[in-house]
């Protein structure tokens, strides 16, 4: 596993930018509503995440933190 991300689901507004632009398609939109009333995105850790941070670059809400490198 090269990388992983953490999504702050209370910040997430379900715009699905991260989902669209994740080259590894490791993020999905859930049917979970957060307190703001948005269906939130969730990281599905399928070991493919490269930590490229494209999701974070796209995320309007600064809801994503990205980790990369040697085994955690």
């Amino acid at each position: 596993m090269k990388g992983y991300i953490e999504i702050d689901q209370e910040r997430c507004k379900g715009c699905s930018f991260c989902i669209e632009y994740c080259p590894k398609k490791t993020i999905v939109l859930t049917d979970k509503l957060n307190l703001k009333g948005y269906f939130v995105a969730e990281f599905r850790d399928d070991k493919n995440c490269t930590g490229c941070a494209l999701c974070a670059v796209m995320c309007p809400e600064v809801a994503i933190e990205v980790y990369r490198g040697g085994t955690a």
């Binding site: 507004k13 509503l33 307190l35 703001k36 009333g37 948005y38």
Partner: protein, 161 residues
Amino acid sequence: MLIKTIFSGFGGQGVLSMGYTLATAAMLEGKHVTYFPSYGVEVRGGTANCTVAVADEEIASPVASEPEFIVAMNQPSFARFQSILQAGGLILVNSSIVDISAARGDIEIVAVPTSELAEELGTIKVANMIMLGAFIKASSIISYDFMIKNLLQILGEGKSK
């Protein structure tokens, strides 16, 4: 008779058209009525609400400080508005997504699983109308039959908004 109802929920849940439809129906029934939406950036946040007042005489203020009825389509709305409901007032909640465990003791609560019901009807879009129907039955602010009889005209009016 003067009855005020607050419809509240997320932006997407059609709470404004719930209120607008009730107001239209009440107007067609010949009642005095005011409809006052939350407006401007408030809405941007993602929550919306509107207040409908129905009465037999002139309505002094379209604002409800102590409403008789509340329709809460989501958790934040339930939290925010149940507190201002009159003692003995009635609150309808969208039980599909609202946890009512923290409810006040001195109010009446009707739980409506709108999502489930809507899915039965095949589309989540009508969840708000299902809630409205439930509300009118429970509140009988206007006659349910009149509502049904004039549904087309009422919704027609709705469009011409």
